[in-house]
């Protein structure tokens, strides 16, 4: 319906960025899920499972695992932010929640990175 071709500078604020990161991290997790179920399924066949574990020791896989944990943490925190605003009616504290969400997400990712290497 918006006919006029203007840029959406109106999206450049914390609430919108938080919503987009929530969505993108959700998509990343959804893409990862089939792989996760595959590895769980392989646990019944020892040889294949050990092969999978060996493959997962590859540094690139470790890095992507770290990113997945970060995505999980960010997505979780994004959900907390939504619940805080929608069910507990926080308003002035919204910005604080957004900031905390990101801190929590990044923190989780970094912690995992430290453990992985």
């Amino acid at each position: 319906m918006s006919a006029v071709g203007v840029t959406r500078a109106s999206r450049a604020h914390a609430g919108f960025v938080a919503a987009i990161i929530h969505r993108l991290s959700g998509l990343a997790l959804a893409v990862f899920l089939p792989l996760h179920f595959l590895s769980l399924g392989l646990a019944f066949e020892q040889e294949a499972f050990e092969g999978f574990i060996a493959w997962s020791n590859n540094p690139l896989v470790k890095l992507s695992e770290a990113l997945l944990v970060a995505a999980l943490a960010v997505h979780f925190a994004g959900g907390v932010r939504l619940l805080a605003i929608e069910f507990f009616g926080l308003t002035r504290a919204q910005a604080v929640w957004i900031a905390c969400s990101f801190a929590f997400g990044v923190g989780g990712g970094v912690l995992f990175l430290l453990r992985a290497f």
């Binding site: 319906m1 006919a3 006029v4 959406r8 609430g15 919503a19 605003i85 929608e86």
Partner: protein, 242 residues
């Protein structure tokens, strides 16, 4: 023009209907100049056919909202010095509304949605000679007060991504009004508000991007009002009232 500065503003203004295009104008820059002053200068000195709306010029009537450098704003209270980027302005009509011509949009869908959201008072059964007692500290009164100062400018509606995605979505202004109406304890059919806003086009579409709250010129927070409606409709539906 009175003596200001020698600098000229480069202003691109949307001309025509939805299939129109930007036209460029050069407007003398003044020390204290609002975006509405710029548009008025163009209409009075450069192009008399330019269509735009304004009335009060002091931020009360809500009729002069436009998209300025990509953001919806009340142009009468927006100083050029705050929003011009390298001496340039790009002025377009509000988003999410049909363009009639130039900077004028058709506000009909916007106001129809206020009715659809039941943002109006419905009298109760009580006798008319009893004056309702509504203490200022009452929770409902406080919630209504926080939502009530809307000037109907359409800025939030223009900033809302959900309105852009879904044409029938009631939008932040109408839902904010519905929240004020729902919190009017004198209302004879408060559940009726919840029925109206819990329709498929209603409050549960909100994605909490908070662009409405970010852009509201009178610093209302429609996201908060919509969240209140979500909670109230959830409670009412659990009780089987909807």
């Amino acid at each position: 023009m009175s003596a200001g500065t020698n600098n000229a503003l480069q202003v691109k203004v949307w001309r025509g209907d939805a299939d129109g295009a930007y036209e460029s104008y050069e407007v003398p820059q003044q020390e204290n100049q609002t975006v509405l002053d710029v548009v008025t200068y163009i209409q009075r000195h450069l192009d008399a056919a330019l269509a735009y709306r304004f009335a009060c010029r002091v931020g009360v009537c809500g009729s002069c909202a436009m998209t300025v450098n990509g953001r919806p704003r009340w142009t009468c209270r927006t100083h050029v010095s705050r929003v011009a980027q390298n001496g340039t302005l790009e002025i377009a009509p509000l988003q999410n509304l049909p363009v009639i011509r130039d900077l004028v949009t058709d506000m009909t869908p916007f106001f129809e949605k206020w009715q659809e959201a039941r943002g109006r008072f419905v009298p109760g059964e009580g006798p008319r000679d009893t004056l309702a007692q509504v203490p200022p500290e009452q929770t409902e009164r406080a919630a209504a007060s926080a939502a009530i100062e809307c000037i109907n400018c359409g800025v939030c509606y223009s900033a809302c991504d959900v309105v852009a995605w879904r044409e029938d979505y009631l939008g932040p202004a109408a839902l904010n009004r519905a929240w004020a109406a729902y919190n009017d304890v004198r209302d004879g059919d408060r559940t009726g508000v919840l029925k109206a806003v819990s329709a498929a086009s209603g409050c549960n579409n909100c994605h909490t991007h908070q662009s409405c709250a970010e852009h509201c010129p009178v610093t209302l927070n429609p996201t908060f009002s919509i969240a209140g409606l979500k909670r109230a409709t959830l409670k009412a539906s659990l009780k089987g009232e909807l």
